[in-house]
Symmetry: C2
Subunit: 253 residues, 2 copies
């Protein structure tokens, strides 16, 4: 019994700058059926406004209050905890976080820094974590899909720091249960009546199921043959967003 | 009953460019006692000649045939296996490996590339391994000790690629059993009669013990309080190379 839907963006609605076939119509069907939706993304290379602009450019009408991003969750956590992290994040994201001078650093916050993942920056982060500071990660995704192939996402760099320093990161975006719970709560339904649609086997599908939601894997975006064999057996796997919406309308309350 | 000794270099004999206190005299005692020695290093930022020169500059007389390096083991493996790897290695090491054009790449070989660990280079390596090519690693060390602190070694970058691509690397330097076995064999003694002295809990001590040698951890170099609690309980832990040699001379055949 489905009462609300969480949707990943890249790989579900579009790849690169191109909307996936049938995505617009699928979203329209959910709207027409009155199914509440939230959009949840771990993208940490673009500021919030750029994500909303990109969606608008591709004619997806996603409003500010229905978009849940990992940087937003990270900023809220940093604020609540009163931490002053060293930031290893993408230059485009710097406007969403307050920079602190080295003498007050008491944590490390890592996003998908892209080309900022230099040896020097990673080593600086390592030394702080090795000295005992907590490591906060906006995500743990292994890779994402670009127009020319799969590319390293934040997860491998977090794993590298965890391995070197002998510690575990606190993940603030997907697959953190808190992140899914917050998005599901805003749908006004219990977690078990919400379904997460995503192309990332671990971050989207296993993460949602671990948080008590239902999980739906699409075979688009970063999906690779065999992904469905290494996720929770309770997950549903379908071809794409069109089939996902069909499944939801069949299984709704 | 000890018949031969393997010694790590950095952190055991010296740190940075400075010999550790008593190191020269300790090595002299082993020579005078007729204990055969081999020097085994995972350093993959310097060519073989530079390592020998550095040792000579610090007045350690290490001959070419007693030095076993991870790049040497890697070059031998690549030669034997007939592979044509993409090289993610330190610029100073390029002279020790043949470069191949992209169209014949059939493996990825990774050393401690230092500043060459850029996002672009790591992503290039990831894509090849993700497509199914084997990942060969010259080591798996977590960090090394520099004059100004601990710094990321090769291991975290190997772990990052392993995690992203869902694979495991074949390690060719320490802690690979083949590497220890080859060095021990050249001492002319059985593995169980050889002892490895090192400052790296995993690569040196646990690795040696897993290969059937004895393992001796020194509290110099990269050693950190508590390292002795997370290694094989059969390992011996002593203050430094001076105490290590004392232990060896007491326990020799």
């Amino acid at each position: 019994m489905i009462e609300g839907v969480l949707l990943d963006l890249s790989g579900v609605l579009y790849v690169g700058d191109g909307p996936l076939a049938g995505a617009h119509e699928a979203i329209r069907r959910l709207i027409d059926a009155g199914v509440p939706m939230r959009f949840v993304t771990n993208t940490t290379r673009s500021p919030r406004a750029a994500i909303l602009n990109k969606l608008a450019r591709m004619r997806f009408s996603v409003s500010d209050e229905t978009l849940f991003t990992a940087p937003q969750a990270a900023a809220a956590y940093v604020e609540k905890s009163g931490l002053h992290p060293y930031l290893l994040i993408h230059p485009d994201l710097r406007g969403e976080f307050r920079a602190h001078p080295p003498e007050v650093w008491d944590a490390v916050l890592i996003g998908d820094a892209g080309a900022e993942f230099t040896y020097g920056n990673l080593n600086a982060a390592f030394r702080l974590v090795f000295d005992g500071m907590p490591l906060l990660a906006m995500g743990y995704n292994k890779y994402f899909k670009e127009a020319d192939g799969h590319s390293l996402d934040i997860g491998p760099f977090v794993a590298a720091l965890e391995f070197a320093a002998g510690t575990r990161a606190k993940v603030l975006g997907k697959p953190a249960a808190e992140f899914f719970e917050a998005a599901a709560a805003s749908l006004g339904c219990k977690p078990e009546h919400a379904v997460m649609i995503g192309d990332d086997a671990e971050a989207d599908v296993d993460g949602a199921i671990d948080a008590g939601l239902q999980g739906l894997l699409v075979r688009t975006g970063k999906y690779r043959k065999g992904d469905e064999d290494r996720i929770d057996p309770g997950a549903i796997t379908v071809a794409d967003i069109v089939a996902a919406v069909e499944w939801i309308l069949t299984n709704r309350a």
